[in-house]
């Protein structure tokens, strides 16, 4: 599965903590531990965009990893 575009709503839902998924990819979980805390549910559009950029990049660069593929299915179906 290719990594869906950054414009997909799910990315912003994750970094703001509006929606929580049970993820497998360890690097993303560590990154999200920081991003969800700093962006929060009322994050500014800029902070959300920056967080989505970071999260999307880490998934894109590790797209061949089995845990990334599992996460993409979990998030986007």
């Amino acid at each position: 599965m290719n990594v869906p575009s950054k414009t997909q709503k799910q990315w912003a839902d994750i970094v703001t903590g509006r929606k929580a998924y049970e993820l497998k990819f360890l690097a993303a979980k560590i990154m999200l531990g920081r991003l969800v805390r700093t962006v929060g549910p009322n994050g500014s559009p800029e902070s959300i965009r920056d967080a989505v950029d970071q999260l999307h990049a880490i998934y894109e660069k590790n797209a061949a990893s089995p845990s990334v593929q599992e996460d993409l299915k979990t998030i986007f179906g």
């Binding site: 531990g33 920081r34 805390r37 660069k61």
Partner: protein, 330 residues
């Protein structure tokens, strides 16, 4: 894929054959090895396939990653250079890192790795080199570049590995500890030590809190990073200062871990939860504190073998945690 404890002669033979190796052992042993495609670090504690946990000062632990290494580049990183470890990792493999304990580079990595440029762009796994506990303060932990024979006590040694096109890897952790039901603890600043803690938002002396609540300091503080449980182990407690083996971070919520009655039972429970295929594990290491507190000498932790370390690295520094690298066919 081979992971085993062996003599200097047997390891030398593999190096001479051109194998790509990750090594762990006493400094005097690693210094005897021929040049070749290997990196290593000092430690005499291991989990071996046949004998389980053991101390050996005349054998080294060898992980042969030749089958998953299309090519490798080895580089020593100073404290300041280490910020580029992800940026220089390439785009089709993983990086293996060994850092000498109780050094500036160890502290810098512990505090800053999550904020390095391109964090997580490639898998990063490894461990913190140490010494026999009887030699703490007498000997320095060291890391080795097998290609040049260089030995360092103030730099991180990194092997950037390019995978064959049909292979992919994943980094995982096994943590037997979970957050307890007690207070939420936060800290005013990032660091390896603190005097005060915020208990459910109220500031107090951390040592007094530990004493009053009779916290077992063999159990770590545990933070929840979006489902990944990250431990902070206690090093020492005095009235003036509480020291940790890894830094606490400002803004992160910690809880003291639930008690674990039996390591083996908790470990098996975690393994089942992960659903790991043992055939895929190509490297793992576990913490010296788990080895000591859980009595792993002579015990088996299959499917995991490898060095027992002064810190574990899975993208960032971890404590009291087993880390592992899995290889998969694409």
């Amino acid at each position: 894929m081979q992971q085993d404890i062996m003599t200097i002669a047997a390891a030398s033979e593999l190096i001479t054959k051109g194998k790509t190796l990750l090594l762990a052992g006493e400094e005097s042993l690693l210094k005897q090895l021929p040049k070749g495609k290997w990196i290593g670090g000092t430690i005499p504690y291991f989990i071996s396939p046949n004998q389980g946990g053991l101390v050996s000062q005349d054998k080294i632990f060898v992980t042969d990653i030749s089958a998953m290494a299309a090519s490798v580049e080895v580089k020593a990183y100073s404290e300041t250079e280490l910020t580029k470890v992800y940026t220089e990792a390439g785009d089709s493999g993983f990086s293996f890192i060994v850092i000498p304990a109780m050094t500036g580079v160890h502290a810098a990595f512990a505090l800053n790795a999550p904020n390095y440029d391109n964090f997580g762009s490639q898998p990063l796994i490894g461990w913190v080199a140490g010494v026999h506990l009887d030699n703490l303060g007498k000997e320095k932990p060291r890391v080795f570049d097998g290609l040049t024979g260089e030995c360092a006590d103030n730099a991180a040694m990194v092997m950037h590995v390019t995978l064959p096109r049909n292979k992919a890897v994943d980094v995982g952790i096994v943590n037997i500890f979970e957050q307890g039901e007690g207070d939420t603890l936060t800290f005013g600043a990032d660091g390896f030590a603190c005097t005060d803690v915020l208990v459910n938002g109220v500031k107090e002396n951390f040592a007094a809190y530990i004493e009053r609540n009779k916290l077992d300091t063999k159990l770590p503080l545990v933070a929840d990073y979006y489902g990944a449980l990250v431990n902070i182990s206690f090093q020492s407690v005095t009235a003036e200062e509480v020291k940790f083996y890894a830094p606490v971070f400002h803004g992160v919520r910690y809880k003291h871990a639930k008690a674990v009655s039996d390591y083996a039972t908790a470990f098996d429970g975690q393994l089942k939860k992960i659903g790991l295929s043992q055939d895929n594990v190509v490297f793992s290491c576990n913490c010296i504190l788990n080895y000591l507190y859980s009595g792993l000498e002579g015990k088996n932790t299959a499917p995991f073998v490898g060095p027992i370390t002064f810190g574990e690295i899975a993208y960032q520094l971890l404590n009291q945690t087993l880390v592992y690298l899995e290889m998969h066919d694409k």
